[in-house]
């Protein structure tokens, strides 16, 4: 079996007296879409924050691309190839869609300490950005300020920013939250098209999306792994049905 691209080793984190991550160990294999599901407040975003470096775990280790990154900051982990889509869309509001993606591409293409040449004169970066925007269906919105994009378009823009970096792993925190049905379907199709090439850790409440995309599902309840396995195994797991899927049904 190939070495995992991401490996969480006994991660634990408390907020004061509240344990939000409890002895979490999980892996994402190359090319795999690993979904993490769980009720609101289960600690999914907190887990992502520890993987991306926003939060430091109290104990345990984060291994990324074969390297212990537990002590690295957010930017350093990103430079190793870790991309992220935030639960609440995070783009540069005053930049156009194109410039947002170009900014993402620029991070992977040489030094940013160049002072006099206009950034937009760099054809290679601008073309890559335009290509990535087209891939998520935003080609016609390239020159619109990100602040003026619809909620769903911002989600797509964030995805374009992640993809243009050719990352080794993408962390997706509820990419479909708040998007319309048509957009959800389109984004799901886009992500499905990346399966096998781009590993993802996907957090998502929309079960149709999860079961359509995931190669493996981990269920997080109150900060701890309640179950982990193939989509079929999770669908039929009595513990999961009681703890999460059942609850989801009347939520």
């Amino acid at each position: 079996m190939a070495d995992p691209i991401l490996k969480l080793d006994d991660l634990s984190k408390n907020f004061g007296a509240l344990p939000v991550t409890r002895h979490v160990s999980l892996e994402v294999l190359p090319g795999e879409i690993h979904a993490v599901i769980g009720p609101n407040g289960a600690g999914k975003t907190t887990l992502i924050n520890q993987i991306s470096g926003v939060l430091k775990p109290d104990r345990g280790r984060v291994l990324f691309a074969g390297q212990d990154v537990t002590r690295l900051g957010v930017a350093a982990r990103a430079r190793l190839g870790l991309a992220r889509i935030f639960q609440i869309s995070s783009v540069v509001a005053g930049f156009s869609a194109q410039e947002n993606v170009a900014l993402a591409a620029q991070a992977k293409a040489g030094s940013s300490f160049r002072f006099l040449k206009p950034a937009r004169a760099d054809r290679a970066i601008e073309d890559k950005a335009a290509e990535s925007l087209a891939a998520v269906g935003l080609a016609r919105r390239a020159d619109v300020a990100a602040a003026l994009l619809s909620h769903g378009e911002k989600r797509a823009l964030e995805l374009a920013m992640a993809l243009v970096q050719a990352p080794r792993l993408v962390l997706l925190d509820e990419p479909m939250a708040g998007t319309g049905k048509a957009e959800t379907e389109r984004l799901t199709e886009l992500l499905a098209g990346l399966r096998g090439r781009l590993p993802m850790l996907l957090i998502e409440h929309d079960m149709a999306t999860v079961f359509a995309l995931a190669d493996r599902i981990t269920v997080l309840v109150e900060g701890a792994v309640a179950a982990s396995g193939s989509p079929e195994a999770i669908r039929n797991d009595p513990v999961v049905r009681r703890a999460y899927l059942g609850e989801d049904a009347h939520a």
Partner: protein, 328 residues
């Protein structure tokens, strides 16, 4: 796309706004300023020659602050420190026998950049109100240091023997020539500043102001980028200080007093916190209002304060509406 709010981006009410924010309008402002000295001489109004020169000098200082404050979100309350250091660079170099501008101005730039670069390593580790306070505190340290330099007049400051020479020539004795040097340097740094903002570096620096956590997630470290911008701004402020020392032929610690830092912030805010050339408008308004009101009463700041608040309030409403949209 189906759900796109198509009306939004077409809803900009005027075309004037984008033009007023464009670098082209900055050049228009410089051209207007450049007309003033010639007009002053033709009309026999030497006072307006001095005024235009002062506007150019303070516009340059305010422009350098606007670079880090308006574009980078770094609210420095100590920008008068590198400004004053530039003035002292001219004085001290002249004292050591280096009276040429070709030496003094580059050295002033380096001294200002060095001061900002070194103090920036401390200040840029803080955020928000702490950044404002620590830049103020560091500038006050510079202020008191120069106050205690008795060899250079201490509190009182010192008169410059003569204006800097240029390649040995005493061209700058002529006030008209000097005015055009100041305006020329303003134009140069305006163009350079806009170029830097449009560069790869500028893109990251501008992005950091709006969304630092997003840029971190893309792999950008904020600190080295901000430190370089902060040092560059200090260097340009020092060039403005070197000009002021030459214009007044006098240098004192008052150049780096906290009130001066406050004036520069006021100029940037009045100029709109947006494109760099707003600093030209801000500097002109502050200096002209100061001149006019100080003739009426020595307590002119009591009038200017409320006036300022009014303008800032209007900007949020009236002026912003005329300009249309939030930014360009």
């Amino acid at each position: 796309m189906a759900t796109a709010p198509a009306a939004n981006d077409n809803a900009r009410p005027s075309r004037l706004g984008p033009f007023l924010r464009s670098p082209a309008f900055g050049l228009v402002l410089v051209a207007l300023l450049a007309a003033a000295p010639a007009a002053a001489v033709l009309l026999g109004q030497p006072f307006w020659l001095t005024m235009a020169t002062r506007v150019a000098i303070f516009a340059l200082a305010a422009l350098s602050l606007s670079f880090i404050l308006g574009q980078g979100g770094l609210v420095s309350f100590g920008h008068a420190a590198p400004f004053g250091i530039g003035a002292y660079a001219v004085l001290i170099l002249a004292d050591l026998g280096f009276t040429d501008a070709l030496v003094a101005f580059p050295v002033a730039f380096l001294a200002g950049a060095l001061f900002s670069g070194v103090t920036g390593t401390v200040a840029l580790r803080t955020r928000g109100v702490y950044f404002i306070m620590i830049t103020l505190a560091l500038a006050q340290m510079a202020f008191f240091t120069f106050t205690s330099l008795s060899a250079y007049g201490g509190d009182d400051g010192m008169t410059l023997w003569a204006r800097s020479t240029v390649a040995g020539q005493k061209w700058l004795k002529n006030d008209l020539t000097f005015a055009y040097l100041a305006i020329g340097l303003l134009a140069l740094f305006l163009v350079l500043g806009n170029r830097v903002l449009a560069s790869r570096f500028g893109r990251v620096f501008r992005g950091l102001k709006e969304n630092e956590s997003r840029l971190a997630a893309l792999g950008y470290d904020a600190y080295p980028v901000r430190l370089v911008a902060y040092a560059l701004a200090g260097g340009v402020a020092a060039v403005a200080g070197a000009l002021l020392a030459n214009q007044t032929e006098f240098v004192s610690p008052a150049y780096m007093a906290w009130q001066r830092s406050g004036d520069l912030i006021v100029m940037v805010v009045l100029g709109g916190l947006g494109p760099l050339h707003g600093a030209i408008v801000g500097a002109a308004v502050v200096l002209v209002v100061e001149e006019t009101l100080s003739h009426l009463t020595e307590h002119w700041k009591i009038i200017f304060g409320p006036l300022l608040i009014l303008i800032v309030l209007l900007r949020g409403g009236l002026i912003a509406r005329i300009l249309g949209g939030r930014r360009g």
